[in-house]
């Protein structure tokens, strides 16, 4: 294996790209959560609610698996992040996980007789996961730019400086802004997915109506987050010594110095806007195709901005020199290389997911199917 000349540096970058890709796919797939957060306000009747839950529900475990794989891949490639963030920002991650536990049972249990707590309870579980999941994940990712309160000792053991163990992140308005942006982006994607996959005219009309306000509620905090991050100081890592310092306009500089990332970011934002516009102006059902690709591109660019070009991707505002970079937080060269070979399976995985997805989605959801007595949530 050692005969292949691939440097540790290359592998660290490669894995940052893979982790970023998983994160961006996850954010798109949270259309499932976005849809869940709409189940009490979007449908007019029980049948519409059943159809919504069944169309997004058929994808819930894909989102769930992407989250789990994202966690596993992050652990394998940047274990110091795993140890530091999960061990330190304890309450944020526990709250996220807790909401996903609720989700995993809710679909299968909600309409089954004898579920003890009633369908309403499990629908509340779905709503809680739908609202809290994206919000908290957005807040957690925002700390990649705004910093956290931790220090590491010379054996790399984490000490969290805030007794709120991660919840202190909500005190920074920028973190909350990204949380809101991710939540409402998930709802936009959820609405567009529902429009695309359910054959029900009145539900479609209502979804189009809801799209406008959700788009605005996504765009405002999103733009606020982007502008405030681009104008604030960022955490720069010296490429030779690894010393961390605050650099003015660090993320703006990153964009300028990495024009490809700038292009990806703009293309992503344009894709999301185009998809929304297509739905709002032309009542097209195909908006989700553009917002999905747009979401993936934009989130991917955000992660590139956080980790590349000598930037600390998990900075400590409390103790600058404890900040994590893709250089100091990564696995060894051997592990990253071994894992790279495993990652070659990913296109194959995408292939069969696409094939299975297509074969299940080839017919839209209708009320007839819901009444047919076939397996449903």
């Amino acid at each position: 294996m050692t005969t292949i000349m691939i440097s540790h540096l290359f592998l660290q970058n490669y894995w940052w790209i893979i982790v970023s890709l998983l994160a961006s796919l996850l954010v798109f797939l949270m259309f499932v959560q976005g849809g869940q957060s709409l189940i009490f306000t979007l449908p007019r009747n029980d049948m519409q609610k059943t159809m919504i839950i069944n169309t997004i529900g058929r994808k819930w475990d894909l989102t769930f698996t992407t989250l789990v794989t994202f966690g596993g891949a992050f652990f394998a490639s940047f274990p110091l992040f795993y140890a530091t963030s999960f061990g330190g920002a304890y309450w944020v991650w526990i709250a996220i996980l807790f909401s996903f536990i609720l989700q995993a049972v809710a679909y299968e249990f909600r309409s089954k007789p004898g579920n003890v707590f009633g369908q309403g309870t499990f629908d509340v579980f779905l709503f809680l996961n739908g609202a809290l999941g994206p919000l908290l994940i957005g807040i957690a990712v925002a700390t990649f730019f705004t910093g956290s309160q931790f220090s590491l000792d010379d054996m790399n053991r984490v000490k969290w400086a805030s007794s709120w163990y991660g919840l202190e992140a909500v005190l920074d308005i920028r973190n909350v802004a990204l949380g809101m942006a991710v939540l409402f982006l998930s709802r936009v994607n959820g609405l567009l997915y529902i429009i695309n996959t359910i054959d029900d005219d009145s539900l479609k009309t209502r979804s189009f109506q809801k799209l406008m306000i959700n788009s605005v509620l996504f765009l405002v905090p999103f733009l606020f987050f982007v502008v405030s991050i681009l104008l604030s100081s960022g955490f720069a890592a010296d490429p030779v010594t690894g010393t961390i310092s605050l650099e003015k306009y660090k993320y703006l500089n990153n964009l300028v110095q990495m024009p490809l990332v700038l292009v990806i970011f703009l293309a992503g934002v344009a894709g999301v806007l185009y998809g929304i516009g297509l739905a709002l102006l032309r009542k097209s059902t195909r908006g989700v195709w553009f917002t999905s690709i747009g979401t993936v591109l934009a989130v991917f660019a955000v992660f590139m901005l956080a980790g590349f070009n000598g930037t600390s991707f998990y900075p400590s505002a409390y103790d600058l020199q404890s900040s994590l970079t893709i250089r100091n937080a990564s696995s060894s060269e051997f592990t990253l290389r071994t894992m790279m070979y495993v990652s070659f399976l990913v296109p194959f995985v995408f292939g069969y997911i696409a094939y299975a997805w297509k074969s299940i989605n080839n017919k839209n959801i209708t009320s007839d199917e819901m009444n047919s007595g076939e397996h449903k949530y």
């Binding site: 652990f75 110091l80 795993y82 140890a83 996903f100 049972v105």
Partner: protein
């Protein structure tokens, strides 16, 4: 490494992990076992075209789905708990331990989650063949996911294929295949899978027996019993075989755990195998801890010596041998291991201060030490002992380990008998007439669950105080977040999981009473 461990934090963290693991393991074996049984049933349907088999398949598939969901729900916590509650561990060995978790996601979980949607929603959407392939892929995917997590667990019990890097203060993988084909992992995988097939088979056998007792669904029940008892008999034989192998491996790589499993206080030659016994505190103490003695026991003479080393005269070491040492048998004492562990730890501290002082020559030479085979084998191997204060702290809970192990083994033999007898009655064609046996099958439903959990209790309780055998005790692995925080999440999870379990059991019972759709 943390000199003053907050015991309450450590205990709550362990309790939380135990709670989530035990809950998770209530559901996973059925997923592993039932997925194959359902796949076999659907195969029969596709090959015969008999619609009855489709009904049978779909009935068990519904139960599979209910169980699967809650298994997934409890599983996500476990993965992230390594980070949230054992963050020092996550760093210390993340370079090796993270890889199997990532591979599990990429290779297994996607397979499972993608095709489970086809399995449940694809009946009228995809071809029969594609549906059948999907069902098999779900079974293979879930079994593959077990492989990777067991590789990770096996590595904790028997750490191989890595070198410690003082620069990063962690272990780094140098041999991927050694990690994968670790003998502990391989055996653990086979033992876990076969026992899960056993559990799945017992599930089908018990519920089918209930239908026969009630004189309902006779055709489905008899057909299901046929598949389950044959599969179950093979699985229970395989479980016994791999279990025996497992004990043998433990006696070599985790001899203290083995001594606890057998409650062997003092080592001896001609050691007998205790089939069952009742323990009491012995008069002899190691530090604060009294050793264990038998109040009474049923013993097969010399068998333990024969099983572990192949001959009657072989010496089987007891717990006191590992504390006091035994020169005759060249077993190192705790004190000596601790001394060696301290040498390794001092080297690490020397390295850190050499780096701080810019003494490159010294830091390079110390770093070289850690990749030196002799240093690894004679000193670094005992690294974790440096963090343990009292000699008796290396002794696990003997009673817990002993009783769990023996009860599991007794149940294991019972299962062989049960499945064997079911097969016998089936071929005689009288199974429906032997109500007493059907009742036994029905009432035996909880037993494989108990046996399976006991197996994990032996594995995990028996290896205390180590999170990584001899390298890291749990006390230095735990995240330093205050016991109050962990206590709060412990009760959160306990309440939630219990709530979900109640709901799950109630749904299962309802679905079973409803029976298959006509």
């Amino acid at each position: 490494m943390i000199e003053n461990v907050d015991l309450s934090l450590l205990n709550w963290s362990r309790a939380q992990f135990a709670l989530t693991a035990i809950y998770h393991w209530l559901f996973v074996p059925l997923t592993l076992g039932l997925s194959f049984l359902v796949a076999i049933m659907e195969t029969i349907y596709v090959r015969t075209g008999n619609e009855e088999w489709k009904r049978i398949t779909r009935f068990w598939m519904t139960l599979f789905g209910v169980n699967f969901a809650i298994g997934v729900a409890t599983g996500i916590i476990l993965e992230f708990e390594f980070g949230t509650n054992w963050s020092n561990y996550s760093w210390f060995v993340g370079d090796i331990f993270g890889a199997p978790l990532a591979i599990e996601g990429i290779v297994a979980f996607f397979l499972e989650s993608t095709f489970i949607a086809v399995m449940f929603f694809g009946w009228n959407k995809v071809s029969r063949k594609f549906h059948l392939v999907s069902t098999w892929l779900v079974a293979i995917g879930s079994n593959l996911s077990a492989l990777w997590i067991l590789v990770a667990n096996g590595w904790m019990q028997n750490p191989v294929g890595m070198v410690f890097n003082p620069e990063t203060a962690r272990n780094e993988m140098v041999n991927f295949w050694a990690v994968i084909f670790n003998q502990v992992s391989v055996d653990k995988f086979l033992h876990t899978l076969s026992s899960s097939y056993l559990l799945g088979s017992m599930f089908v056998l018990s519920i089918s027996s209930w239908f026969l007792i009630r004189k309902r669904e006779g055709f489905m029940a008899r057909r299901s019993i046929l598949v389950a008892s044959v599969f179950g008999l093979l699985a229970s034989l395989m479980t016994a075989y791999t279990g025996d192998e497992s004990a043998r491996i433990i006696s070599k790589v985790q001899p203290v755990k083995f001594a606890a499993m057998e409650a062997l206080a003092e080592g001896k030659t001609n050691a007998g195998l205790v089939a069952f016994g009742v323990l009491k505190d012995s008069d002899r103490k190691l530090g604060e801890k009294p050793l264990k003695d038998f109040l009474f026991k049923i013993e097969i003479p010399s068998l333990l010596s024969v099983m572990t080393a192949g001959n009657k005269e072989a010496f089987v070491p007891g717990i006191s041998d590992f504390v006091d040492g035994n020169k005759e048998q060249s077993i190192m004492s705790f004190a000596e291991k601790k001394e060696r562990g301290q040498v390794a730890r001092r080297a690490l501290i020397d390295y850190k201060s050499a780096v701080k002082n810019g003494n490159i020559a010294l830091s390079d030479s110390v770093k070289g030490l850690f990749s030196d085979k002799a240093f690894q084998d004679n000193y670094f191997r005992y690294f974790g002992y440096a963090s343990i204060d009292k000699p008796e702290d290396i002794i696990p809970d003997v009673s817990g380990t002993f009783y769990s192990f023996h009860l599991m083994v007794i149940l294991g033999f019972l299962f062989i008998f049960l499945f064997g007898f079911a097969v016998y009655l089936l071929f005689k064609g009288t199974i429906a007439d032997n109500k007493w046996f059907l009742w036994i099958c029905l009432l035996s439903l909880p037993l494989p669950y108990i046996a399976s959990e006991l197996g994990w209790i032996v594995a995990e309780l028996g290896r205390q105080p180590w999170i990584i055998q001899d390298l890291m005790p749990v006390s230095t692995a735990v995240t330093d977040i205050g016991s109050g925080t962990v206590m709060a999440t412990f009760f959160m999870f306990a309440a939630l999981f219990t709530t979900l379990l109640i709901s799950e059991i109630s749904i299962m019972v309802k679905q079973i009473k409803k029976g298959p759709k006509h």
